[in-house]
């Protein structure tokens, strides 16, 4: 029997690599667990915090009162208005919103990539493929799409949670355009975070703990900027900024990941 192969051109190679990675990502139990978490968490947050309706805690020594404000609008789970963003104040609505997803993504990317190295799959792959860039590009694409799915599920969970909690859906100053732009900006921001996590994971290889720790640490550096870059009342500038950021980070850190793969031993 004669065995026929696809042509060894970049496009064909990338196509086969993407086919494998998409198949792996979307048949991986972890992806569905993370997707489930992304869907359930906003429902839990919105329903539970509206039941609290503002919590007051008093310090017994000083008598100082601290009030934790709950959610009073469904869209707060998606973003904060530009005027309400303050870097120094981190309240519940600022911390427990869709931006958490960028940390969940770190877990997904770290485990997805380190699994390649732990199982020995990367050895089989790199023995027959001299171009490590195929691997890096494919991983960037697949993890980006996985991130988009997680964002959409979080969005759907937030809408459902808001409806269950009886919270208003009034977009206020942001308007529906602002919400759409906000979501678009957040989509492109996934392309900023994925290359960071990929570079860390490729460097950590089979050490999942190191890859996760490194990803969290690197992600933490950019995390405070997420709410500023993607406020609820985002406009086209925010979208363009995030898009350009995604392209630059993808290309730059993708090249770094490729360099790490090329310059370091794989076992």
């Amino acid at each position: 029997m004669e065995i026929k192969f696809e042509h060894n051109r970049f496009g064909k190679r990338l196509k086969s690599m993407l086919a494998v990675d998409f198949r792996r990502m979307f048949t991986m139990r972890l992806f569905y667990i993370m997707a489930g978490i992304c869907f359930v968490i906003p429902i839990l947050i919105l329903v539970m915090t509206t039941m609290m309706d503002g919590t007051v805690s008093i310090d017994p020594k000083t008598g100082t009162q601290t009030i934790v404000e709950g959610f009073d609008n469904t869209w707060q789970a998606i973003g904060t208005l530009r005027s309400d963003i303050s870097v120094t104040t981190m309240d519940l609505t600022g911390m427990c919103n869709i931006n958490m997803l960028y940390f969940f993504l770190a877990i997904l990317v770290s485990i997805f990539v380190s699994d390649d190295f732990r199982s020995g799959y990367s050895k089989n792959l790199f023995a027959v493929r001299a171009k490590k860039s195929d691997y890096v590009i494919s991983k960037l694409f697949v993890c980006f799409f996985a991130g988009i799915w997680m964002l959409l599920l979080f969005f759907a969970g937030a809408m459902l949670g808001g409806a269950i909690a009886g919270l208003p859906f009034d977009t206020g100053l942001a308007g529906m355009d602002g919400v759409v732009m906000c979501m678009l900006a957040k989509f492109f921001l996934v392309a900023v975070f994925v290359p960071i996590y990929l570079a860390v994971s490729v460097a950590a290889k089979q050490k999942t703990w190191l890859s996760m720790l490194g990803s969290f640490a690197a992600g933490m550096l950019l995390f405070p900027m997420v709410s500023m870059l993607t406020p609820l009342d985002s406009d086209i500038i925010n979208v363009i900024l995030c898009f350009v950021g995604g392209i630059l980070f993808g290309a730059g850190l993708g090249a770094v990941s490729n360099l790490i793969c090329n310059k370091t031993s794989l076992c």
Binding site: M1, I3, K4, F5, E6, H7, N8, K12, R13, S16, M17, A19, V20, R23, R24, T27, R29, D115, S119, G120, Y121, S122, K123, N124, L125, F126, A127, V128, R129, A130, K131, K263, S265, L266, C267
Partner: protein
């Protein structure tokens, strides 16, 4: 044309020199047995050939092209340490991933072919994590055989295989190398098994190629001896030592006479001196013994 041609290969891990100017030539269509003690540099050499480790210096050519050439690399099949399968995937799905990676057009047919070769047709739907160690090794071989590679690099593939598994492995390797279609580099500590299939050998020690030879040269180089058993072993040994220069006593009470031409000559000589021989045979030293002798010889220098 050689399948592999390595010249002056060097590699360091920190301060430790893993390879010190290693040379190696693997002819096309050969089964090349790479032998050496633990830490001698066998696995490092194999990993470098597969592009998994970067060498410090030296040149590696595969089928007359640089080893980084994209077309040459697509012709390699490997089994190094683990088979490279995902635990939660079935055997079929694991093979499918590699087939797609290789760009094989009729992947299903190809998977059926390789599973048949390693006699694993019935286990295609089993989850990889539920397979036994021997089955996993066979899956690893199947994975390496996908796409009918021109070069197979196998690191300790016989480990964990039962007698049937070893026989299957022998059959597979002999079949695929038939007609010079495929060349195999195989490292193993089970020298008895290696001796049954290898056509060429390379003995590595301290990161250097100590000796390269064909199976024919090994056959020629392995000394013949007469092994005999008698109840009066000590007296027989003393008598034989007077007539022959090299008489050795083995742990199983066998006496080995290395420079005897005929076994009849020994039987007659001992009988004339009142010693009865209960069993006698002419044999050759095995690859394992040859290897141990060679190592001892190098150590004594």
């Amino acid at each position: 044309m050689n399948a592999i041609e390595i010249r002056n290969l060097t590699k360091n891990f920190g301060d430790k020199q893993a390879l010190v100017g290693l040379n190696m030539t693997v002819p096309v269509g050969s089964i090349y047995g790479l032998i050496g003690e633990n830490g001698s540099g066998k696995s490092t050499t194999e990993k470098i050939i597969c592009g998994l480790i970067h060498p410090f210096g030296g040149s590696i050519r595969l089928f007359d092209k640089d080893y980084t050439d994209i077309d040459v690399r697509a012709k390699i099949g490997i089994l190094i340490e683990a088979p490279g399968c995902f635990a939660n995937y079935s055997v079929w799905n694991n093979l499918m991933l590699q087939a797609v990676n290789l760009g094989i057009k009729s992947a299903e047919q190809e998977i059926v072919r390789v599973l048949k070769m390693v006699r694993m047709e019935g286990a295609a739907s089993n989850k990889y994590k539920n397979c036994s160690l021997g089955m996993k090794q066979r899956i690893g071989i199947a994975m390496a055989l996908l796409g009918d590679p021109a070069l197979l690099v196998l690191d300790e593939p016989i480990n964990g295989l039962d007698a049937d598994g070893m026989r299957i492995m022998r059959e597979v390797l002999v079949n695929i190398t038939g007609g010079g279609r495929c060349s195999v580099v195989i490292s193993s500590h089970i020298l008895g098994e290696l001796e049954k299939i290898a056509t060429h050998y390379g003995i590595v020690r301290g990161g250097k190629m100590l000796k390269e030879m064909t199976a024919g040269e090994l056959e020629h180089g392995c000394r013949t001896y007469v092994a005999l058993w008698t109840k009066e072993k000590d007296r027989a040994k003393a008598l034989l030592s007077c007539k022959y220069s090299q008489v050795e006593e083995e742990e199983d009470n066998t006496l080995r006479v290395f420079d005897a031409k005929e076994s009849e000559e020994i039987v007659t000589y001992l009988y004339e001196n009142g010693i009865l021989v209960s069993e006698i045979k002419t044999d050759k030293i095995s690859l394992e013994e040859y290897y141990i002798d060679l190592m001892k010889e190098k150590e004594s220098r």
